[in-house]
Symmetry: C2
Subunit: 289 residues, 2 copies
């Protein structure tokens, strides 16, 4: 239950509490559920489960990575301390540097211990981890230094609220090279259409001359069973359509022990941008047509 | 909670129980929820809510109606006693006859009283209502007499179990004209992949020379937030691809008081057949490529 989805909640049977501690920023808890395997909650809200995390991690990563024009060399993750987005970025052999700015050092530690399949991402030798404020990190980054920035945040209440606001988007826009893409966790069409509308309006303002689009994935353990992404392309003078992949998915040949990709493919990429009529109408004014 | 989705459940705050009675077939209950409006449950399982029913009713109806080749004149609904599918069928002016075979007479009565926006469908003068066993009704239908058959059933436990079995699909195949389409409620990719696989295998057997495809819609109040449809086309000798609409959505001009369509459009039609990689791989053997 949460003020973000009043009057409803997902009930999950829990066999065990594996870890429960307050970090400097939030309540961190790891549960064992017969239906979803190991579950991470922050401030009581499910962040990821062993069973369905791939639907989120693959989509928030491969949508921008496969849409961006020109070979991406440098990617940044803001948040994402569980390592799942790093794992998906690491599948892209074209990347030379993968940075992550996570504010809460407890999250990577907990992930390495209880979610080894997600924390795999930390093992890639292109990854540089900074336990720091993501906004400050982005503001300090060199102008035009990233091809892709992924914001893997919790909901816009509490510590993640600033990650939904204009100063942060201005800083990301500056840190992207022309044609670069920001992809941010952007809530549920079924529950948060007003938040999404406001976010899209602000992004259109920041990414003038570029593109602002919305895509979504299905995922049973997020409220309403889906979550979306705001995908903003910085103007480059070249024509671009983030709905059409510029490159194929990364090769499925992985190091031993890595899970295969289970959600994303190029058809899923294109379909993810097709919105139900009610959402299309509500967002028409603020998204790129 | 249900054996159909062990270890998880959707919790919905309830303000009022508006109706609660046992019919000859099942427990029928109408609740008032602040988040979802009026809610219908059968045997304790949410069947539809005022807030999101359109996502299901529009998709189970317009997918087959807009995919079928040649103008559909006669449609049959099996189940669907709430009237929502009838409402969506009634938007298609090409239809001359709309039949419904619902086993439980209490459901239409409850819907007319508590869900007037769904029960609108019963007012269309092309609609003929039969309170009867759907299987018997289909077996008695003239061969090749329907263009489209929609099976709007509850889950394959209890009274609806037979609606997932081969004798019923054989009867529907016989009752369809060549090129006609059956569209059935076919559970969740996230929860019931084994049921779906088995259903697809059986449908491929029945609809030999035709097509068997799977599409899905998002809907917050069904387990895992989505539900799918098995869409089977009877062989006609002509090429056909149910993923591509043969006709535009019905006109939005409605009688006064009718709600507009809010989910389906032609792009949503095409995108609904694009399955996540894990589902595509699991069903590849049994669906038409």
């Amino acid at each position: 239950m949460s003020t973000m989805w009043p009057g409803q909640g997902l009930s999950v049977k829990v066999d065990d509490v594996l870890f429960h501690q307050r970090s400097d920023f939030q309540d961190v808890c790891v549960l064992r559920s017969p239906a979803f395997g190991t579950v991470l909650t922050l401030d009581g809200v499910i962040q990821c489960t062993e069973r369905d995390e791939f639907a989120y991690q693959e989509m928030i990563t491969h949508l921008p990575m496969c849409a961006v024009k020109g070979e991406p060399k440098r990617a940044l993750v803001v948040g994402g301390g569980d390592g799942g987005v790093l794992r998906e970025l690491a599948r892209h052999s074209c990347l030379e540097e993968i940075h992550i700015a996570e504010i809460d050092g407890m999250v990577p530690e907990v992930s390495k211990k209880y979610f080894p399949q997600m924390a795999l991402g930390f093992k890639d030798n292109r990854v540089r981890v900074e336990i720091t404020d993501g906004i400050k990190f982005v503001q300090d980054a060199a102008e035009g230094s990233y091809d892709v920035i992924i914001v893997d945040s919790s909901d816009p209440v509490g510590p993640a609220q600033v990650l939904f606001q204009k100063p942060f988007f201005d800083a990301m826009h500056r840190a992207l090279r022309p044609g670069g893409i920001v992809c941010t966790q952007a809530e549920s069409l079924w529950l948060h259409l007003d938040i999404i509308k406001e976010l899209a309006r602000m992004c259109s303002d920041v990414f003038q001359g570029g593109q602002v689009r919305y895509a979504f994935t299905t995922i049973p353990t997020y409220p309403s069973g889906q979550i979306g992404f705001m995908i903003c392309t910085k103007a480059s003078g070249e024509a671009h359509d983030a709905r059409i992949p510029s490159r194929p998915p990364p090769a499925q040949t992985q190091q031993p022990g890595w899970p295969p990709m289970r959600y994303y493919n190029s058809d899923v990429h294109r379909a993810a941008f097709v919105l139900p009529q009610f959402a299309k109408e509500a967002l028409a004014k603020h998204l790129t047509l």
